[in-house]
Amino acid sequence: MTGQPRYNLTELLACVAAGFIEDGRSAFVGTGFPVVVGMLAQRTHAPGLLIIFEAGGIGPRVPALPISVGDSRTYYKASGASSLHEVMSASQAGYVDYGFLGGAAMDCYGNINTTVIGDWAHPKARLPGSGGANDVGSFVWRAIYVLRQQSKRTFVNKLDFITTPGYLTGPGARERAGLPADTGPYRVITQLGVYGFDDDTKRLKLLALHPGATVDQVREASEFEIIIPEQIGVTAEPTDEQLRILHEIDPRGMVIGK
């Protein structure tokens, strides 16, 4: 093999994330990467995926990548262009299956921080806060995290601030807090592999490694201990067809070029 690699990390992550989407379901997407994932799923195995944008866009035929959550492109040729109240209510009522989240840091239970680094009252760095992330993480049946910089600084023992709930302190904690039952983070995708959460402990568990990644790298890039089972899968590489579609979706490489 010579020359350029056939795909970059973003393309790999998009294909992996799209693979978790079942057809005939609904997904909350934010701008950027999640839109690409949703569109890829729609154009491959999940044509019946209902895409919903937090500010009110319902089921658009997204013509080009939206720049903002409320961008007109989020309800271009859509079934509905409504309100935050409508889509957040629908999601609180159980109508939204998937949601994509990112974050500055995560702990072993999948809790996420996007609020502050350091002390809340006197932050070292102030981040934007929850936005709709807490709502998405509270309401969707299956939250999918994409954290492309797994390291000891992002997979941490203790978060400075829990912005968005993962499994909180472990099994049953979401329900005890009053969050909707049977929800929570479903998959975490990083530059190294794909993770789920252990049924008994609700702690992060490795499910599959990306091509070329190793268990040692996974262990090394985390402050907390990641459960490593006996059987570990290997992520499928993007097909040429998937790559072709990704370039169709994002011809200028706004998202997948990164």
């Binding site: 409320g70 935050l84 609180q92």
Partner: protein
């Protein structure tokens, strides 16, 4: 029933429903009068120093920029800003020294465009204080409570997190299921500013595209100022009264400001001015650059018309309209 669990966020904009009813009775006229005025006068009259302020729209969508520039121009101070996803608006107003406090659902960031140099600097140096945290849906429902005249709305998000611990929500047991549930206190902004597509001189406003949180916010705020792309005849409202998103009796002032959302997006009308937004994000990296920006685009121009001329005038606005209208389905054949 157990006592509610209290949280530590400051309670911003709440009123006892009876107190707010009395305020409404005494201060909101139900008469359909001509409410046209100027941007200068509206800001002078309805955006006092120290007020609690919220913007219609969301992020970079349908932001009443003419009013925001005027707030900066009039050097308003000590505003408490509702960060109900506040992006370009709050960033500029912080840069302009107008804002001292903010309750945050989302602020200090520009979504995909990156973080806000100006906003972050202000909060990290203590110039701006964060009074509490909340989520986007949470804010929306605080406005819903106010719009309904009830003291709170129940919700099932934020529970179990530090977001709720730093909010003004309380947690009780749902008396039916026994499960914990968050009660979000009503939030009545002192004033909310909107930019809409069409509005008659009485304040009956139509909005195209997503309405986001504006239905509830318009009904929650004590005072409302509306800028509009176009003032239309009342007869046009009458033809399809079901298109009225904000009815006149809520509205205190109306000003026609074509392209009044620049550089943010006016849905189905004109697109973001990415160049101008990028310029702001670049120059606002330093306090000096920020100051220079205001000298050029705010203090250095007498009004919004002059500002529009400065950013490229009619030609530039036509370009942004064209970008909006293009929106070709992506074919992969050619970049737009």
């Amino acid at each position: 029933m157990r006592d509610p669990i209290e949280n530590s966020g400051e309670l911003i904009g709440w009123h006892d429903p009876d107190e707010n009813r009395r305020w409404v009775r005494e201060n909101k006229s139900r008469a359909m009068t001509d409410k046209r005025t100027t941007v200068q006068e509206a800001v002078r009259k309805f955006v006092p120093d120290g007020c609690i302020l919220a913007m219609g729209g969301f992020g970079h969508i349908r932001i009443p920029m003419a009013l925001i520039y005027e707030i900066i121009r009039q050097r308003k101070r000590n505003i408490t800003m509702l960060g109900k996803t506040a992006v370009h608006d709050i960033d500029l107003m912080i840069g302009g020294g107008c804002v001292s406090r903010v309750e945050v659902a989302y602020a200090f960031g520009h979504e995909l465009r990156g973080l806000s140099p100006c906003g972050r600097r202000a909060v990290e140096t203590g110039q701006v204080k964060v009074t509490g945290e909340i989520s986007n849906a949470g804010y929306q429902w605080r406005f819903l409570a106010a719009s309904m005249g009830v003291p709170f709305i129940p919700a099932r998000s934020m529970l179990g997190t530090d977001t709720i611990k730093h909010s003004s929500a309380k947690i009780i047991e749902d008396p039916w299921s026994g499960k914990p549930i968050a009660l979000l206190p009503a939030c009545y902004p002192d004033v909310a500013l909107f930019h809409v597509h069409r509005c008659d001189k009485f304040g009956n406003a139509q909005i195209d595209g997503i309405i986001i949180e504006d239905f509830e916010l318009a009904r929650a705020a004590r005072r409302i100022v509306i800028t509009t792309e176009k003032i239309i005849e009342h007869e046009e409202i009458e033809r399809q009264p079901w298109r009225t998103a904000i009815p006149f009796y809520l509205v205190d002032a109306v000003i026609e400001v074509p392209f009044g959302a620049h550089p943010t997006e006016m849905p189905v009308t004109y697109y973001f001015d990415e160049e101008h937004i990028a310029h702001w994000l670049e120059v606002s990296k330093t306090p000096e650059g920020t100051q220079k920006y205001f000298e050029e685009y705010v203090f250095g121009v007498p009004d919004y018309d002059a500002y529009l001329e400065k950013i490229g005038g009619k030609r530039r606005m036509e370009e942004l309209k064209r970008i909006m209208n293009l929106q070709p389905p992506s074919t992969g054949e050619a970049a737009p």
